[in-house]
Amino acid sequence: MEEKKTAWERLQIIHTKGRPTIRDYIPLIFTDFYEMHGDRLCGDDKAIIGGIARLDNRPVTIIAEVKGRDLNENKACNFAMPHPEGYRKALRLAKQAEKFHRPVICFIDTPGAFCGVAAEERGQGEAIAKNIAEFMTLRTPVISIVLGEGGSGGALALGVCDELAMLENAEYSILSPQGFASILWKDASRAEEASGVMRITAEDMVQLGVAETIIEEPLGGAHNDLDKISENIKEYLSHKIPEKCQIDIDVLLKERYTKFRKIGAFIE
């Protein structure tokens, strides 16, 4: 890995135009991808895609927050900010995976759940809460990977898993550094300073017990070598998925609960 970059430098990398999105990765990591649509309740959210594919010949379910590669794509996918129906589609596909004994792979890449009138009216909070609770006891292995932005509850809704991996420059946070600075210091312009105190980098996540693995990016960031970063992600999954599939599901669920149960810092 290259010399350690600051959280702020990494944020610039993940916001670089041309940073690969899930649509770039799928054909390089999986085969036979069939996309599925809709939550069967209200609609089909374009900020989350999902479907069935093969990983090294093994059927898997993919659920992913999807960023656009240009303004038009971003408008179509709402800049990867899901509405409740996106989370409900994700849960439907996860339940389908459980039924057919397929492992689930979630790709996280969102600034956060969408903040809007329709999202509130259709229960954004309830949709996220339900995903978190249901994924905790989903009887099939779940691996989540943060590709770029892991924005708050909108990320956690796809982040309750047996193991979380972070791309080297990816971040995971409670809210954006701008938001953090404006809430705590009443000054959004102190975003860079906020990014330094918030502990949002891949290394921070491993130290705090939130993530287990860091997937190395090519020099300068994932956009510099799509084949290489895809290979690195695939290598991780090809190793991790069979490993998790071998573990007795009741043991796996206990470990999943414990992974989150032990995060926190307090004295008695």
Binding site: Q124, M205, I263, G264, E268
Partner: protein, 281 residues
């Protein structure tokens, strides 16, 4: 300020102030005034417009559970500073002194008209009821205790959401609490959420929204995103009733709206309807 105070003392001492009036409560909703003693008698409900003011956790316990039935869990648990956020310890020490709480939730066992429950009450005076390590841990333990002992859970929520000063560790408390709720639910336990003012952010997006039955006090704020954030996104003013309990009730996310004076009796009926009446806590 001191001069005003001495004026009042002087007037009262000299007995010269015939116009002395009892302390008044000015309602932030209807702007009307009533004697403070009347407002307190109604447990902080405006006698004019039914505005439900915020209660401390201790006040809520005293009007909800049977006298002297409350046994507190984890009273001494205090947060550390997981991301070394500047001055977090100092801020907490100040609040501990001001509120006589160690963090934003109080949990324990109690009985409600004889029915045993595990109860949790959030207190918005402590860092806006935000959820950090201690709130997450105490709530998870409360649900685990309820699961082991086949008890129902009643949770009074009041929160601005995540505890910013604990960063990502705060976010993970959503998973910790929701996981514990799910295991309690899978074991057949009854969970009643009572949403009080305000129930927002990461608490709405975790254990608050997972109740088998969701009750709200009248007109309280319930939502995921903050009003100003949404107004900023859509560049429009939102209607006054947006995200109020009645709005969420209309949209199908709240089962019933219950006034404070009826809460204890409604909870008791619901507990008994689920067979929780003659067991020991």
């Amino acid at each position: 300020m001191f001069e005003d105070f001495f004026d009042v003392v002087k007037k009262r001492f000299n007995g010269s102030d015939d116009d002395y009036k009892p302390p008044m409560f000015k309602c932030p909703r209807c702007q009307d005034t009533s004697p403070l003693s009347r407002y307190e008698e109604l447990h902080r409900v405006c006698p004019k417009c039914n505005y439900h003011g915020r209660l401390s956790a201790r006040e809520r316990i005293s009007i909800t559970v049977d006298k002297e039935s409350f046994k507190e869990f984890d009273k001494d648990m205090k947060s550390l500073n997981p991301i070394d956020f500047p001055d977090y310890e100092i801020k907490q020490e100040e609040l501990r002194e001001a509120t006589e709480l160690n963090d934003a939730v109080v949990t324990g066992t109690a009985t409600i008209k004889g029915s045993p429950v595990v109860i949790g009450i959030m207190d918005s005076r402590y860092m806006m009821g935000s959820m950090g390590s201690v709130v997450g841990e105490k709530i998870a333990r409360a649900f685990e205790y309820a699961t082991e002992n086949c008890l129902p859970v009643v949770m009074f929520t009041a929160s601005g959401g995540a505890r910013m000063q604990e960063g990502i560790v705060s976010l993970m408390q959503m998973a910790k609490t929701s996981g514990a709720v799910k295991l309690h639910s899978d074991a057949g336990g009854l969970y009643i959420t009572v949403m009080t003012d305000p129930t927002t952010g990461g608490v709405t997006a975790s254990f608050a929204s997972l109740g088998d039955i969701i009750i709200a006090e009248p007109k309280v704020l319930i939502g995921f995103a903050g009003r100003r954030v949404i107004e900023g996104t859509i560049r429009q003013r939102l209607p006054e009733d947006f995200q109020l309990a009645e709005f969420m009730h209309d949209k199908g996310f709240v089962d019933m709206i219950v006034e404070r004076r009826k809460m204890r009796s409604v909870l008791s009926h619901l507990l008994k309807l689920h067979g929780y009446d003659k067991k020991e806590a």
